[in-house]
C-alpha cells in the first residue's frame, strides 16, 4: 500500500502552517521528514494518519491493504502513550481486543512482538517500572502487533537520552532489515534522519513547503555513526536548514 499526498495545505485560523505539499510515500521504505521547529511536520504526520483534517488537499491511499493487517496506519508517539494502568502485555492486548481474534491467536501475536522487541521477560511489568527506552520499545511492539501497512513515527526518540537513542536506532534498523516496513519518520534530529531514512524530505519554515528531497542509497544495515558519506548528507541537510532554523528560533510564538 502506498500513500500519496496531493496539494496538502493547512491553516490554523489566519496562520498557514503547511502549503502545497505533494509527496509519494513508497512501500517498504522509510521516509524521514525534517524541518525547523514549528514547520508543521507533526501536523503533517497527524494528517497522514487521519488524526487531523487538512484545510485543503488530500491524503490518498493506493493499493490493497495486506490481508492480515489490523490497523493500516499506525502511530508511534514521542511520549509513548502507554496506559499506566495496564501491564506491558495489557498495553499490547489493548489494540487487539477490538478485533475479535481468537484468544490463542491474540496471545501468540503478543508473545511474538514481545520477542521481536526483546521484552518477553517484562510482559507483566507496569509502565512506571520501565525506563524511557523500554517504554518506547513497548510502544513499538504495540505498533507491530497490528501489523501496520505504514508506521507513522512522531519524533519517537526525542524523549530519550543520547545513548538510549543509539540503542533504539539499532533496534529499528534490525527490525527493518528482518522485515522491511513502510514508515514516515518525523524528527528534528538530522543524525536520526540520515541513519534511518531512505528518503529525507526537508520542509521549510512556516508555512511548511518541501524544500528538497534527499535520497540516501546506502542500505540501512551498512550505515554507521561516523560514516563520511552520511556525515556529508547530514552537513548538507544542516546547510539547508540552518538559516531557517535560526529565523524560526527568533519567531514569537502564536505571532
Amino acid at each position: 500500500m502506498d500513500l500519496t499526498l496531493s496539494n496538502l495545505t493547512h491553516r490554523y485560523g489566519a496562520t498557514e502552517v503547511l502549503s502545497g505539499i505533494d509527496l509519494d510515500i513508497a512501500h517498504g521504505r522509510i521516509l524521514c521528514i525534517v524541518g525547523p521547529s514549528g514547520c508543521g511536520k507533526s501536523t503533517l504526520l497527524r494528517m497522514i494518519g487521519g488524526l487531523e483534517r487538512p484545510t485543503s488537499g488530500s491524503v490518498l491511499q493506493r493499493g490493497a491493504v495486506p490481508p492480515d493487517c489490523l490497523n493500516p496506519l499506525t502511530y508511534i508517539f514521542q511520549d509513548f502513550a502507554l496506559l499506566p494502568w495496564r501491564s506491558v502485555a495489557g498495553n499490547i492486548a489493548l489494540v487487539l481486543e477490538d478485533h475479535r481474534l481468537p484468544g490463542p491467536r491474540r496471545d501468540q501475536i503478543i508473545a511474538d512482538v514481545l520477542a521481536r522487541t526483546n521484552l518477553t521477560e517484562f510482559r507483566n511489568a507496569w509502565p512506571r517500572q520501565l525506563s524511557g527506552g523500554m517504554k518506547q520499545r513497548v510502544a513499538i511492539a504495540r505498533a507491530l502487533a497490528v501489523n501496520p501497512a505504514v508506521m507513522l513515527m512522531d519524533e519517537p526518540l526525542s524523549a530519550l537520552d543520547a545513548q538510549t537513542r543509539e540503542l533504539l536506532m539499532d533496534d529499528l534498523v534490525a527490525l527493518w532489515t528482518r522485515a522491511p516496513f513502510t514508515a514516515v519518520y518525523v524528527t528534528h534530529n538530522l543524525a536520526e534522519a540520515v541513519r534511518l531514512g531512505h528518503r529525507i524530505v526537508v520542509l521549510s519554515r512556516r508555512p511548511g513547503r518541501i524544500r528538497e528531497i534527499v535520497e540516501i542509497d546506502t542500505p540501512l544495515a551498512d550505515r554507521h555513526a561516523g560514516d563520511p558519506a552520511l556525515e556529508a548528507h547530514q552537513a548538507h541537510l544542516w546547510q539547508l536548514m540552518r538559516d531557517e532554523a535560526a529565523a524560526a528560533d527568533m519567531e514569537l510564538q502564536n505571532g
Binding site: L51, N71, Y75, A81, L83, P84, R86, V95
Partner: protein, 265 residues
C-alpha cells in the same frame, strides 16, 4: 586567594518533603484526651464545659451493652448507604456524560453550579412534602448532598484524562466504547475516588441533619435528644460514633484506592 582557607561547603538542601511518621497522629489524639481527662478531674475544666472522656466512654459502653447502639446505628447506616449510593452513582453517571458530551456539559454545568451552593438542609421541609416524613426524604437529602460534589469531581477527572492517550486509542482504531471503557474511565478513576472522600463526608453531615427531623432512631436523633437535655456525655458519645464513621469510610476509600490503583505504585 593567597590564604589556604579550607572549609566544607555548607549544606543548604533538604526539607520540604513530607515523610511518613508513624504513631504521631495517635499520640496527639491520646494526649488531647488525657489533657481533658486531667482537666475535668482537677476541676480546671468545669463539667458544664466538657464532659469527662472516661464518662463518655462509659456512656458508649452502656449504649453498646444495652443493644441501643445497634438500634441507632442500623437505621443510620442504611440511610447513609442508600442515600449516598443513589447520589454517588447518579453523580458519577452525570459527571461522565458531562465530560464526554459538549451538549450535556453546556446544559448541566450551570444547573450543577446552581445546585451546589444550596444548603441542602434548607430543602428538608421540601423533601418531606415530596417524599414523605419517612425514609424517602432522608434518602433524597443525602443523595442530593452527595450528588453535586461527585458530579464536579467526576467531570473534572474526565477532563484531566491525558488527551494523548485518547488520540492513541483513536489512532489504533479502537471503538468509541472501548476508548471510554479502557482509557477514559480508568484515567478518571483516581479523581473520582478522591472526590468520593469529600462526598461521603458530606453524606455523614447530612445524615445527622436528616435524622434531626422525624426520626425515632439514628445517631442524629440520639445526638439531638441528648442535646436538648444538655446531656453532654451522650452528645459526645454520638459525636465519637460519627467521627468513627468518618474514619471508617475514609479508610474504606483508601483500601479501594490501594486495590484499584495499584498501577500507581
Amino acid at each position: 586567594m593567597a590564604e589556604t582557607d579550607t572549609r566544607p561547603v555548607p549544606f543548604r538542601g533538604g526539607g520540604f518533603r513530607p515523610r511518613q511518621v508513624r504513631g504521631v497522629g495517635l499520640a496527639v489524639f491520646v494526649a488531647l484526651i488525657a489533657l481533658i481527662e486531667w482537666g475535668t478531674r482537677a476541676g480546671v475544666i468545669s463539667s458544664l464545659t466538657l464532659p469527662r472522656p472516661s464518662d463518655v466512654g462509659t456512656t458508649l459502653l452502656d449504649l453498646a451493652e444495652s443493644g441501643m447502639l445497634w438500634t441507632h446505628m442500623a437505621p443510620s447506616l442504611t440511610r447513609l448507604a442508600v442515600g449516598s449510593a443513589l447520589g454517588v452513582s447518579a453523580g458519577i453517571g452525570i459527571g461522565v456524560l458531562i465530560g464526554l458530551f459538549s451538549m450535556v456539559r453546556a446544559g448541566l454545568i450551570p444547573l450543577v453550579a446552581a445546585l451546589f451552593p444550596i444548603p441542602k438542609i434548607a430543602l428538608l421541609p421540601l423533601f418531606v412534602i415530596w417524599f414523605g416524613i419517612d425514609e424517602g426524604s432522608k434518602y433524597a437529602l443525602i443523595a442530593l448532598g452527595t450528588f453535586t460534589p461527585t458530579v464536579v469531581a467526576t467531570y473534572g477527572a474526565v477532563d484531566n484524562v491525558d488527551r494523548t492517550l485518547i488520540r492513541m486509542g483513536q489512532s489504533f482504531g479502537l471503538t468509541w466504547l472501548s476508548i471510554v471503557r479502557k482509557i477514559v474511565l480508568p484515567g478518571a478513576l483516581p479523581g473520582i475516588l478522591s472526590g468520593l472522600r469529600v462526598s461521603l463526608a458530606i453524606g455523614i453531615i447530612l445524615l445527622v441533619a436528616a435524622e434531626m427531623l422525624g426520626a425515632e432512631y439514628g445517631i442524629g436523633a440520639y445526638i439531638l435528644q441528648a442535646g436538648s437535655l444538655y446531656d453532654l456525655e451522650r452528645l459526645f458519645a454520638g459525636v465519637v460514633i460519627l467521627s468513627a464513621l468518618g474514619v471508617a469510610t475514609s479508610s474504606a476509600i483508601g483500601w479501594a484506592e490501594r486495590r484499584m490503583l495499584a498501577w500507581r505504585g
